[in-house]
């Protein structure tokens, strides 16, 4: 008998974040649609909670308080643990985000839960829960058994599809923020600055990433990468060589010490494929490499390759993509 599964959501742009919707899809396929209950905390969470209804979640806990937007994760963990207890839940699922991962870490102690982050799949065999997750930068996959009465899982971004949206209501249950220790309200979030990213989605969210490496040769040539990315509505990334040379800021770096991305498609242009970079993108679903050096290590890990002069092929590719997409 599967107990209720609580999906903890995040608000983004006035509605549920994409990560939250993915978490709902994940929870529904693992626990059955009827067992999934939503949870949302924020300064105004009732309105965005309607998003749960459109995902087919019949009931949602909402905690509303002006202090909740800039609250520390510990506060939400308090609220989630008591909501989960009052529900009799045995599983909490959160989307693939910083918030999600931090929350399950706290629940590991607060709710005595067996926790796992970056989860790509979860299966129930009788009473036992088993998760699969990538490790070593995606170079291996581990399976872990979650032991105990409670489990809290943060899924990997894009591990599941969001459920198809349809009209539907979710019944709201208010959660009180009384009883939170004062010291947890003390830290202050002073502001949020949306980092100017140029055109395109953020590196870690994007389903397509186009990255440029040392083969680009000079800062002014990087516009070829920007144009190719724009034609695909992709995010732009760079190898460490590029950020070290100052051709692009550090937040563009994909790699072991930069961002780890797992898009559907990763296009590596003029990148040799040193392990430092590979560890940032190896778990991409499809990898395309464009490099003039046939012995570049990137060709060992790519799915498709063009041994070509990028200065000739990339503009041609951008043009062909625009034509194919009717731009």
């Amino acid at each position: 008998m599967t107990g209720p599964t609580l999906v903890v959501g995040e608000v983004h742009d006035g509605g549920l974040s994409d990560a939250t919707k993915e978490a709902v899809g994940f929870a529904q396929s693992v626990s059955g649609k009827e067992n999934v209950v939503g949870f949302l905390a924020g300064s105004s969470s009732r309105a965005p909670a309607a998003g749960f209804g459109r995902c087919g979640v019949a009931r949602t806990f909402v905690a509303e308080d002006p202090r909740l937007d800039g609250a520390v994760g510990a506060v939400v963990a308090h609220l989630v643990a008591s909501a989960a207890d009052s529900l009799g839940a045995d599983l909490v699922v959160v989307g693939g985000s910083t918030f999600g991962r931090d929350l399950v870490a706290r629940l590991g102690v607060r709710w005595s839960a067996a926790v796992a982050t970056g989860v790509t799949s979860l299966s129930r065999t009788g009473a036992a829960l088993e998760v699969r997750r990538p490790v070593f930068g995606g170079r291996a996959t581990e399976t872990r058994q979650l032991e105990g009465a409670h489990a809290a899982v943060a899924i990997r971004p894009h591990a599941s599809a969001a459920p198809p949206e349809s009209p539907g209501e979710t019944a709201l249950t208010a959660v009180s923020v009384e009883g939170i220790p004062p010291l947890l309200w003390a830290p202050q979030r002073l502001g949020v600055k949306v980092v100017p990213r140029g055109a395109g989605p953020s590196l870690t969210d994007a389903s397509i990433v186009v990255s440029g490496g040392r083969g680009i040769r000079a800062a002014e040539n990087f516009r070829l990468i920007d144009e190719l990315a724009a034609s695909l509505d992709a995010a732009v990334g760079a190898s460490r060589a590029v950020t070290d040379a100052g051709w692009r800021p550090e937040n563009y770096q994909v790699g072991q010490t930069g961002k780890q991305v797992s898009p559907q498609l990763y296009v590596a242009v003029g990148i040799s494929g040193a392990i430092q970079h590979l560890m940032g993108m190896i778990s991409s679903r499809v990898i395309v490499a464009i490099n003039s050096d046939p012995s570049a290590p990137i060709f060992k890990v790519a799915d498709y390759g063009l041994v070509a002069d990028l200065f000739q092929v990339v503009p041609a590719l951008t043009q062909e993509i625009r034509r194919a997409r009717g731009q």
């Binding site: 994760g73 930068g137 058994q145 830290p187 949020v192 499809v286 063009l306």
Partner: protein, 260 residues
């Protein structure tokens, strides 16, 4: 300021991954263990804070099996940490993250700790769970994805930024708290040869882990799988750049099914 840094030994980035004979974990025979990359940044951050706030101390702590845990503590001492404590766990596979957090909490709560610094995650299991669990055990707030960490002694507030999906958040918080740094945004120093030699003779305090391991809220590895070997890229033949572009777009559409 009493700064505690939590570090973990992880397999070197260049390690060839192999499955252990029992199929459950990485084969650690002949694996070279090093200080986790993000932990090097955390140690560097701690040392920079110590330099900016004279009178501060940096205490490095690790929970794990011999001999690799002792080695990363010595590596941290060689970088300049003042004190080291080791919670020794049984040899072999490391404890799961929440169990590691419990062990670390025993060591941390026994020493002065204003600020507890952690790396973003370890390079092996990449769970990123220890900072949150540790903070919950210590009863303090925790902050992840932190950049640009400063101590404002006048206002008695830690000032920092967090790099989250929402954007770059600016924060201030009183001590004590746990901070997990975003990534290697500082340039970790390299330990100098004399410091490496000296670190071998420095004392490492020992704290025993809990007598009975908790039976609730743990996870156990049951399978460790390497992906089927990538056979290498399918190279697309072409005579002109235009032909290359057309063929690639076709393949992405029809074969890979990733064309937007």
């Amino acid at each position: 300021m009493e700064i505690v840094v939590c570090v973990k030994p992880v397999p070197d980035a260049e390690t060839r991954l192999r499955t252990a004979p029992d199929g459950t974990t990485l084969d650690i025979e002949a694996v070279k263990f090093v200080l986790a990359g993000y932990d090097e940044s955390a140690v560097e951050q701690a040392l920079l804070l110590r330099e900016a706030n004279p009178g501060s101390k940096v205490h490095v702590v690790s929970a794990g099996p011999p001999p690799r845990t002792e080695e990363v503590l010595r590596a941290s001492l060689a970088l300049g940490c003042d004190l080291a404590t080791w919670v020794e766990t049984p040899p072999g596979v490391a404890p799961d993250p929440v169990s590691a957090a419990r062990a670390l909490a025993r060591a941390v709560s026994a020493v002065p700790h204003d600020l507890v610094l952690c790396g973003k995650n370890a390079g092996d299991d990449e769970a990123g769970v220890v900072p949150g669990a540790l903070a919950e055990l210590l009863g303090v707030p925790d902050f992840s994805a932190v950049l640009d960490l400063r101590w404002d002694a006048g206002a008695a507030r830690l000032r920092f930024q967090r790099n989250t999906e929402a954007g770059v958040e600016s924060w201030e918080a009183p001590l004590p708290c746990v901070v997990a740094l975003q990534q290697a945004w500082n340039d970790p120093r390299t330990a100098k040869l004399p410091a490496i030699l000296k670190s071998r003779r420095l004392p490492i305090a020992k704290v025993s882990p809990e007598a009975a391991a908790p039976t609730v809220g743990t996870t156990r590895p049951t399978k460790f799988e390497l992906p089927p070997p990538r056979t290498g890229a399918k190279l697309i033949e072409f005579k002109t750049p235009e032909e290359a572009a057309q063929k690639l777009v076709k393949v992405l559409k029809e074969e890979a099914k990733v064309f937007p």
